[in-house]
Amino acid sequence: MNAKVTVEDVARVAELAHLKLTPDETAHMLTDLNAILDYVAELNELDTAGVAPLAQVSELEEFTSALRPDEVRPSLDRTAVTQQAPESDKVFFKVPKVIER
């Protein structure tokens, strides 16, 4: 957890997040990420062996929600939804081609 973040790390993570940072943004991000990760390294002080992660607090609450039956039900109106698309043929969303060749 104490590894220092490098420019390559920032580039790799940016690619995963579909973000392309400018060199200036990258430099700032490097400083910020290192500062924050230095700070969160404090969590290493705690012994969490055998502690189950708590991803959803509803686990602690008295009531848990039931799931509904897996039935098809009406959803949003297609016209209303496609109207919000940057480009659409009213049925599909249109995007630039996926593969260049």
């Binding site: 943004e25 991000m29 910020d32 924050i36 404090e42 502690v51 708590l54 609450e61 008295e62 009531f63």
Partner: protein, 488 residues
């Protein structure tokens, strides 16, 4: 007492209570249409400077007001929030109205549906005035991360209103709405309420439906009300709370009559005061105001008990790993495909994704997405995200143990009062550290209320945070009412 109280300028024109407005409309002494018109007049005057509203919903508001007036004319009983002018944080969707989440990436997004909380407010007769400014995607503690400019604190316009629900808090403080909805992921209702001198409610996770909330961190996000007084905030919670088939994380726990419950005296309640919230970093004037509030509770017949929550210091790193990890997943949907901004200069799909996101997202959002992606990435997942979720359980269990001994826990809501615009924007980590008193409850899923309990020498409001166990909102309201009574 006289020498110590400081008046809060914004409340020179304090709004009526919801009950008084409803009574006036019922008895036809006031027309809802006129009340709403006067709110819009005030908005027109104050909004250019304070930048609280991003968009207005005049047509919808006037139609609703007319509906309420028609009911009153027929002598029909009015719904519980009849005629109440409300504002909605711009991360909650309202059909056909721009819902930007404070971001350029959704500048022209007009949702095809209403958030459940909006539907419930309107069914109760509330009048939707417009959408409120906030930090971009609810990420921030000062409303300085909005792509549409900061909100100014009505108490002192050179200062921040807090964040991320800065607009929601400021609207009530400036009487540009009688009640508003905001959201709280790490403190974004409580802290701005404290900075602006109004009441803010953090409902238990799952108490209020998140359907229609543009998600930041799905295991932390809560929708909650702001109002000028505790009873009104409790009334609004009662209207929006309750299970929703459209939100699988919403709880079927029964919704109490929170307003009536808040009328019950606080005498006999056991109040825990955790020493970790009164250590270094706490502004002395904030401490003084909170200690006065605790004396009030003692005088009201509460038993004050010093307690310890020893893992408090680990809450911020835990929060910033969990929240950013979840945010990186939630914000992946903003890719220019189905809605929102699409960059015009892309030739391939991959470029379209990254250009749209680069150009549409602000710096803080990008920072959190990257941090979250890093924490979840192969080789780091165990060390960061998993570790944080384990510490989260430790923090939550610490609260559960405390609530076996006390009924409520009181703390300062924020270590400092409202700071000046631009004061903390240069150092993201410093901004994060200001959330120290609020993130603990966020991680544990418990509920709380922040209630104004005093002011600093220059008149900056100080809020006291009252925390209660899961679904213990009634207890939190009772304690908050006792604190409020002394400050009135």
């Amino acid at each position: 007492m006289a020498g110590e109280t400081h008046t809060i300028e914004s409340f020179v024109e304090k709004p009526k209570t919801l009950a008084v407005l409803r009574e006036e409309i019922t008895e036809r002494r006031v027309r809802a249409a006129d009340a709403i018109a006067s709110y819009y007049e005030r908005i027109e005057k104050k909004n250019p400077h304070l930048n609280i509203y991003l968009s207005l919903t005049k047509e919808r508001a006037l139609e609703q007001a007319a509906r309420i007036d028609a009911l009153a004319a027929k002598g029909d009983p009015l719904p519980p929030l009849a005629g109440v002018p409300v504002g909605i944080k711009d991360v909650l969707v309202v059909k056909g109205i721009p819902s930007t989440a404070g971001s350029k990436i959704l500048e022209n997004y007009r949702p095809p549906y209403d958030a459940t909380v909006v539907t419930r407010l309107e069914a109760a007769g509330a009048v939707l005035l417009g959408k409120l400014n906030c930090d971009e995607f609810a990420m921030g503690s000062s409303n300085e991360n909005s792509a549409y400019g900061p909100v100014r604190n009505p108490v002192d316009p050179e200062r921040v209103p807090g964040g991320s629900s800065g607009g929601s808090a400021a609207a009530v403080a400036a009487n540009l709405a009688m009640a508003t909805l905001g959201t709280d992921t790490g403190g974004s209702i409580r802290q701005p309420a404290s900075f602006c001198g109004v009441v803010g409610v953090l409902p238990t996770y799952g108490r209020v439906s998140r359907y229609g909330l543009i998600a930041f961190a799905s295991s932390l996000d809560r929708v909650g009300p702001f109002a000028a007084n505790v009873r009104d905030a409790a009334s609004v919670l009662g209207v929006i709370a309750g299970s929703d088939p459209c939100d699988a994380t919403s709880s079927p726990a029964p919704v109490e009559d929170y307003a009536a419950e808040s009328d019950k005296p606080a005498a006999g309640l056991r109040i825990g005061v955790p020493k970790e919230y009164f250590a270094e970093g706490l502004d002395p004037e904030v401490r003084a105001a909170i200690e006065k509030g605790i004396e009030t509770l003692k005088a009201a017949g509460c038993a004050i008990k010093p307690i310890s929550l020893p893992h408090t210091q680990y809450a911020i790193p835990t929060y910033y790993l969990v929240a950013t990890a979840e945010a990186s997943a939630n914000l992946a949907r903003f890719d220019g495909v189905r809605y929102g901004y699409r960059s015009p200069k892309s030739e391939t799909l991959s470029d379209m994704y990254s250009h749209s996101r680069d150009e549409g997202f602000g710096a803080e959002v990008k920072r959190r997405i990257l941090l979250g992606t890093y924490a979840l990435s192969a080789g780091y997942y165990d060390a960061y995200y998993l570790k944080a979720q384990q510490v989260r359980r430790i923090l939550a269990e610490e609260f559960l143990r405390a609530f076996a001994e006390v009924d409520a826990i009181v703390t300062p809501t924020s270590p400092v009062p409202a700071f000046k615009l631009g004061e903390k924007t240069g150092d993201p980590l410093a901004m994060y550290l200001a959330d120290i008193y609020t993130v603990t409850a966020s991680l544990a899923g418990i509920c709380g209320v922040t209630v104004p309990c005093g002011a600093t020498q220059v008149g900056l409001p100080v809020g006291m945070q009252v925390l209660a166990r899961h679904f213990g909102e009634s207890t939190a309201f009772r304690v908050a009412r006792a604190v409020e009574a002394a400050a009135l």
